[in-house]
Amino acid sequence: MKFHYILLAIFLQTTVFATEYAVVVYKDFQTKQFSKKQIKDIFMLKRQFINGIKILPVNLASSALPREVFEKKILKINRDRLNSYWVRKHFQGIRPPVVQKSSKAMKLFVKNVKGAIGYLPIEAVDVDLRVVYEF
């Protein structure tokens, strides 16, 4: 009986912490895996270059589930504080990342625009994309 509980616990843990999403760039982007801090810096528009290439982060619409998960796990900042961050950035002449309406649109954008970086459900990743982080 104990053994069953242990198996159940392992199953639940792997389910809870399973990788659901991938941060992706176009396949010819010669780069190593990114750290969580690098990705946060990119999406907060603090870091603008990787290997000399200008980076273009792409968000999904604010109501999209992948974006909520991304903000919670990677940016680690709630929506109110994020909005206040972008208000302050606006005064400095900086706007938030561009938005694509769906994962499909984001996938197309990242595939076709040099320097673009976005996030997708892991099952949506194909050979034309390079995964640089999973969460």
Partner: protein, 335 residues
């Protein structure tokens, strides 16, 4: 340099009308995006001040800014401002309009790499925290500490080289140089025709940052050579935000052949009651041996932001020279 009133008004009106026609989804405080090359924003602030020697209402700042990308590596920002736009002095029974717009900022950025980027034109002097977010709506109090406008020019008209020194991007530097007069010499706190400095900012953790600056400038009205050293620390752990900045200036007055110094700074603590409401306490010190002035100032403030881009603030200042003690309320919005 002034922008003629009627021309400016027509320009502003045109920009806003065009903006409304072509803007994407608009969020208050984040500007109107026309396209990648043009984003437009604006802000204003209004305040009422009451003390023993002051009873004044002002429509203080009225400003418009435009910015965007020219190429993937080049971008620009331009900002015009009129301040104080309207003043009603109840003490003297006078009122005054000043509708002339000035260049607040006008620069081009070139991003080469994380380590080297360049900004040329009139720009905010990259020193400390207060100077980088100087407008009422972004501040936590209506008033500015004396430190923020008495000790170094708030703007540089020249070149700033900046970037991150380390791969983790936790240590940022600025190296700036001005060798001409200000782009708009009627519209700056300290007029200078030579201004240079270096500043460093180290993000020790996500909560703690530490910085400092060294600089030198020469004033134009009365010829003074001034060297300064500055330091700043900020600690953020929601709901608290504590920040402090201090500076020392060494003043060599060439016109009167005298030497003097200034020392000044502040420590401010903000406590968020919730995301909209906050209370603020600040202690300021400022000493200037040129005019035999020494001030201790305590500020007690309250801030309400129904949205982050809308700021309603009230504060009471206790000054060691009691005739300067006063109350201020303000309302400001960033569009």
């Amino acid at each position: 340099m002034l922008i003629k009133g009627s021309l400016m008004k027509a320009l502003l009106l045109s920009i806003f009308l065009i903006s409304l026609l072509f803007a994407e989804d608009y969020q208050l405080g984040q500007g109107l995006k026309i396209n990648d090359n043009l984003n437009i924003g604006a802000y204003f602030s209004t305040d009422y001040t009451k003390g023993d020697e002051i009873d004044r209402y002002r429509l203080d700042d009225v400003a418009i800014l435009a910015y965007g990308n020219l190429t993937p590596r080049f971008s620009y920002l331009i900002e015009f401002e009129a301040a104080p736009f309207y003043t009603k002095d109840f003490e003297n029974g006078t009122s005054n309009w000043d509708r002339q717009f000035h260049y607040e900022r006008a620069y081009i950025d070139y991003g080469y790499s994380e380590m080297f980027s360049f900004r040329g034109g009139k720009q905010i002097t990259p020193i400390g925290y207060w100077n980088l977010e100087p407008i009422n709506v972004l501040r936590d109090t209506s008033s500015n500490p004396l430190y923020s406008y008495k000790m170094f020019p708030k703007f540089v008209t020249g070149i700033d080289t900046y970037g991150y020194i380390n791969e983790e991007m936790s240590l940022q530097y600025h190296l700036f140089l001005q060798v001409t007069e200000d782009l708009d010499s009627d519209y700056i706190n300290i007029n200078s025709d030579l201004f240079t400095g270096v500043s460093l900012e180290y993000e020790a953790t996500e909560e703690l940052s530490i910085g400092g600056s060294l600089g030198y400038y020469e004033t134009t009205e009365i010829q003074k050579d001034i060297s300064f050293i500055q330091a700043n620390v900020k600690y953020t752990q929601y709901p608290f935000l504590v920040q402090t900045e201090w500076a020392y200036t060494d003043i060599d007055n060439k016109t009167f052949d005298t030497n003097a110094f200034q020392v000044g700074g502040y420590i401010q603590n903000l406590y968020h009651i919730n995301i909209q409401h906050a209370i603020i306490g600040r202690y300021e010190y400022f000493k200037d041996t040129q005019v035999n002035l020494e001030n201790h100032i305590g500020v007690f403030g309250y801030s309400y932001r129904p949205k982050y881009a809308i700021s309603i603030k009230a504060e009471y200042q206790v000054n060691s020279d009691s005739k300067f003690s006063k109350s201020i309320i303000s309302f400001s919005v960033l569009f």
